[in-house]
């Protein structure tokens, strides 16, 4: 078993062709160890979300290779990518993407029913501090609560990695901090590798490693000596 969660070599992603081609990723090389919190920072269109989508098995690269542990994601079929997402990956989105017709508990059960080695749904909701509101529908929850349900849903399968695309983008700062704290707790308690894509530079302080993106490439990789508690982050 390798200690690397993800590795990429000369990863590129191009949308369109010819003059109108957009180079979202221009040869990205990186290595992310297991168990870290990694924050991907950069302006819009810098390629961070594209990288996240490729590593998460939602999109495929134009060239280059991407590895999850020792499996090449770039050579996986659609079916294998689905299996990969099902067994190893948890996703958290900016707009939560909960099923409006299912209660908080049921949204979590949606995942635990198909996962290999899931947590108890209640335990996952307890982890995000929502044990009191398990029977509520998304329409009865605040934005922060909805995002915490989404995190509970993502971690309930005990994923190897957790991908978060602008997880605090639709939240106010207090609620945002609470959400980040939950992500940190998951990392602490379960050892899950966490990748967070964000615009908010302040978030970088809670990471083990920060990747600065610009123009489809990693400009700088910063390793934080000390992770700051999300409660102390301001943005």
């Amino acid at each position: 078993m390798t200690d690397t969660a993800f590795a990429t070599q000369q990863l590129t992603k191009t949308y369109g062709e010819g003059h109108s081609a957009v180079h979202a990723l221009r040869g990205v090389d990186l290595e992310i160890p297991k168990g870290e919190i990694v924050v991907l920072l950069g302006p819009s269109g810098s390629g961070k979300s594209t990288l996240l989508n490729i590593l998460g098995g939602l999109d495929t690269a134009t060239s280059g290779t991407a590895y999850f542990q020792d499996q090449a994601l770039s050579s996986m079929s659609e079916r294998q990518l689905t299996e990969y997402r099902r067994n190893h990956v948890g996703f958290v989105f900016q707009f939560y993407n909960l099923m409006p017709s299912l209660t908080a508990r049921e949204n979590v059960e949606l995942v635990t029913e198909i996962a290999r080695d899931p947590m108890e749904p209640e335990a996952a909701l307890d982890l995000v501090g929502l044990s009191e509101r398990v029977g509520h529908f998304p329409s009865q929850l605040s934005g922060g609560e909805q995002q915490r349900v989404a995190i509970a849903r993502a971690v309930a399968k005990q994923p190897t990695v957790l991908f978060c695309d602008e997880p605090t983008g639709a939240l106010d700062s207090t609620t945002g901090r609470a959400v980040l704290k939950v992500l940190r707790d998951v990392n602490d308690r379960l050892g899950t590798t966490v990748l967070i894509v964000t615009h908010a530079a302040a978030t970088a302080a809670m990471a083990d490693r920060v990747l600065h993106f610009a123009d489809g490439a990693i400009r700088e990789t910063v390793r934080n000596k000390k992770r700051v508690d999300p409660a102390e982050i301001n943005w």
């Binding site: 939602l58 689905t82 990956v89 993407n97 099923m99 409006p100 299912l102 529908f137 399968k157």
Partner: protein
């Protein structure tokens, strides 16, 4: 062009699949409207013009024999605008190549000059020369069907004498738009002819010197036709008057009129079905569009666009679809009408028949399409108006599933999450689901009733020719004859069974209602031709009453136990009053049955038959036909196989043929509804479905959430479809039924099974298309959109 117009065209382009589907449904509705009203107006205008130009009489008064001097008295009657006497007679024509002689009607035309009434439209040759009694003009359709032309000769038996006749011309006439042999309803050009001869030749052939046996009348403007007829009858009665009748009882005119009113009924009944389906589709498709464009709507309002301007934008889009469909429908309607009119020209012997557009029907088509669009759009507009700019520009709150029945009961607890999502959608949006259920059920009902109708046509054919009539041939006699004639038939080699029948023409009256037809006298235990009840059980003939076909009983508004008045129009013309004993199931014509002995007794005659049903050894059919032809007593022979074929082709022409068009349309509509329902559900849930895929659900598992909903809706729609189909079948069957044949709308499980297969097939095909889109969905972009 304003930006909103650019947006409109681009949006239309984007949703072209659905827009075309809806426009086509509208087009079909408008097509039926334009085509049917066009046919109605073409047929009526042509008929009226033909009648007027060729001076069709308004009143026909057949009589046994009346002196020509009587015509002056008839002309002097108040209300009579003109009168002419003519001589008519029956003839049996031997046509080369046919083993059996063919029935023909002979009519006189004046020795010089055209007749005052019922003129001929000469299609070939000339009128007969009065100095040459052998010259005749023949009905052109009959000539063509038998390969005869001007210059040919034919042999005919007239009044017992065999003559050789020379065809000098071919003609059509306004009184023979629709022809069939006497006693038969089904037209067959080859089996019924009309012969016109000069008056002097006719009076010699039928011993009618100085006399006439039919008077034709024009009624003065303002006069009441019924009163005029009564006065005519009073004068003709002593001479064996058979009862004057007007155009509504004239055989040919009756069928043309019935066809026209059938078309009129379809023209008003069918298009609304299509247009309501279109309104429903517009509602769901545009509703979805407004929902997905709420931000743009909010933005336009924020910029200062008024409600009406924003609403108008969407209304214009709806109208573009509706008017596009209506324009297409008008074009289809003109093309289809032009094609169908060819069928009608052959079917009815019009000298000219041009498909004439009814300009108003374009207007009505567009108005109806607009009404459907506005109806479907009004509900959508309400949503546009209700959106406040600020709310519209925020992402919508998640749909609230906590309200109402949220499926948290025992059942929901037994299900896994995907099934629970399906269940909650169904219980959360009962109105919308019900709409989809009703839409799909309507499609199924339409398909099921068309299947029922197909079956009904077959059933009418089988019942008429296998259950009711089990003979192989029907023979009619020159005059009512006794047992000797039947014995003679029985002695023919190859005749297995002979069953006598007594047909008399009569007017049946009950209160205000009357029917000009006849009574059929059957033996007490008939085998070859029977009256049957609704369960196909033979109704035994017993003395002391009459058995009426359901159609006839309905027409006369009479039920068993009530008294029917029969004015016999033959022999001594007695008036009989009899109770109705039973109602018979008849799918062909509208017969009235009596016990033969009873009927003869009422007529004051001995045991006489006017014809007989025969069973024939198939191996010796030809020798039997030859023997029958040589019997002087035999006036006509109808072979069942030929009659059945004529009946079948009758049902496949004219209005009957429309059932195939409607069947195809029913299928298209069913598919359209199911497909649109699936598409809209998919669009509404694109983001949820993408989320499921991202979480790690396989495409199959994801499709289940969507298709499970579709499946539930379809399953709920099936029983409702059966229920609606039953109603629809009855009314469509009534629409297709004519006086000639009645189409039964029996509940046939198979028809509903087939319709269910169509619905399920459409659902599976739609599911396949939708699933393919789920498989191809771009997960990333689906997640980024905020709904």
């Amino acid at each position: 062009m304003s930006p909103l117009w650019h947006k409109l065209w681009r949006d239309l382009w984007r949703m072209k699949g659905q827009a075309i589907a809806i426009a086509l449904v509208i087009a079909l509705g408008v097509m039926m409207l334009v085509m049917m009203t066009g046919l109605v107006s073409s047929l009526t205008q042509t008929r009226d013009a033909y009648y007027e130009r060729y001076r069709l009489a308004q009143v026909f008064a057949p009589v046994a024999r009346a002196p020509e001097g009587l015509l002056t008295r008839l002309a002097a009657l108040p209300g009579v605008a003109g009168v002419e006497g003519r001589i008519t007679g029956d003839a049996l024509v031997t046509v080369p190549g046919r083993s059996l002689p063919v029935h023909a009607r002979a009519l006189s035309i004046p020795d010089s000059g055209p007749p005052r009434f019922n003129d001929l439209y000469m299609t070939e040759g000339r009128r007969p020369d009065a100095t040459r009694p052998e010259e005749i003009v023949l009905l052109d359709a009959f000539a063509y069907a038998n390969g005869l032309a001007a210059g040919d000769t034919i042999a005919a038996t007239m009044n017992g004498t065999r003559r050789v006749l020379v065809i000098v011309g071919l003609a059509k006439a306004p009184e023979f738009l629709y022809t069939s042999a006497p006693g038969e309803l089904v037209p067959d050009d080859a089996r019924f002819g009309v012969i016109w001869m000069s008056h002097s030749a006719m009076s010699a052939a039928y011993d009618m010197g100085g006399a006439f046996n039919e008077a034709l009348f024009a009624v003065a403007r303002g006069a009441v036709e019924a009163e005029v007829r009564d006065k005519i009858d009073a004068i003709l009665d002593p001479y064996g008057g058979l009862g004057a009748y007007g155009l509504e009882d004239q055989f040919s005119n009756r069928f043309v009129t019935e066809e026209v009113s059938g078309l009129e009924a379809s023209a008003s009944g069918v298009p609304p079905v299509f247009l309501s389906v279109a309104a429903f589709l517009l509602y769901i498709v545009m509703g979805r569009m407004v929902q997905s464009e709420r931000e743009q709507i909010g933005l336009m309002k924020a910029f200062g666009y008024r409600n009406l301007e924003v609403g108008g934008h969407y209304l214009r889009m709806i109208l573009v679809i509706a008017w596009g469909g209506a324009a297409l429908g008008c074009a289809f309607g003109v093309a289809a009408g032009g094609a169908l009119i060819q069928v009608y020209t052959q079917y009815y012997k019009f000298p000219f028949l041009v498909f004439r557009m009814e300009p108003a029907s374009f207007g009505i088509g567009f108005a109806a399409a607009t009404a459907a669009a506005v109806l479907g759009g009004a509900l959508v507009m309400r949503r546009v108006f209700a959106l406040a700019p600020a709310t519209a520009m925020r992402p919508p709150a998640p749909p609230d599933y906590s309200r109402g029945r949220n499926g948290s009961g025992w059942l929901a607890q037994q299900l896994d999450q995907p099934s629970r999502m399906v269940l909650r959608r169904l219980t959360r949006y009962p109105g919308r689901m019900l709409g989809a259920v009703i839409g799909i059920a309507a499609g199924m009902a339409l398909t099921a009733s068309m299947m029922t109708i197909y079956n009904g046509f077959d059933e009418a054919l089988t019942t008429a020719f296998s259950v009711v009539d089990r003979s192989d041939a029907t023979v009619s006699f020159m005059r009512p004859s006794g047992q000797d004639a039947l014995d003679e038939l029985g002695r023919i080699e190859g005749v297995w069974a002979v069953e006598p029948v007594r047909n008399v023409s009569a007017i049946l009256r009950h209160g205000l209602y009357s029917h000009k037809g006849g009574v059929t006298g059957l033996t007490q235990n008939p085998v070859l031709n029977r009256a049957i009840d609704a369960d196909y059980v033979t109704i035994e003939m017993r003395p002391g009453g009459i058995v009426l076909a359901r159609e006839l009983a309905d027409l006369l508004h009479i039920t068993p136990g009530e008294i029917l008045t029969i004015e016999v129009r033959e022999g001594r013309q007695p008036v009989i009053e009899v109770p109705v004993l039973a109602i018979a199931q008849s799918l062909m014509g509208a017969p009235a049955y009596m016990d033969m002995g009873d009927l003869n007794h009422a007529l004051g005659e001995a045991d006489l038959a006017s014809g007989a049903y025969l069973r024939i050894d198939p191996a010796s059919a030809e020798t039997v036909k030859a023997a029958l032809r040589d019997m002087p007593l035999v006036a006509g022979i109808s072979i069942k196989a030929e009659a059945m074929q004529a009946f079948q082709s009758l049902m496949n022409q004219g209005a009957g043929a429309i059932r195939y068009v409607m069947g195809a349309i029913a299928f298209v509509i069913t598919f359209g509804i199911v497909y649109n329902a699936a598409r809209v559900a998919q669009a509404e849930r694109a983001r949820d479905l993408a989320s499921l895929r991202v979480i790690g659900f396989t495409t199959g598992e994801t499709a289940f959430v969507l298709l499970g909903e579709l499946a539930a809706v379809v399953v709920a729609a099936l029983p409702l479809g059966v229920f609606l189909g039953n109603f629809l079948s009855v009314s469509i069957a009534e629409g297709f039924s004519t006086e000639l044949y009645q189409i039964p709308a029996k509940f046939i499980p198979g028809a509903y099974g087939q319709a269910a297969l169509v619905v399920v097939g459409a659902a599976i095909a739609s599911g396949f298309f939708v699933k393919r889109d789920i498989d191809r969905a771009d997960l990333v972009s689906a997640l980024k959109t905020r709904e």
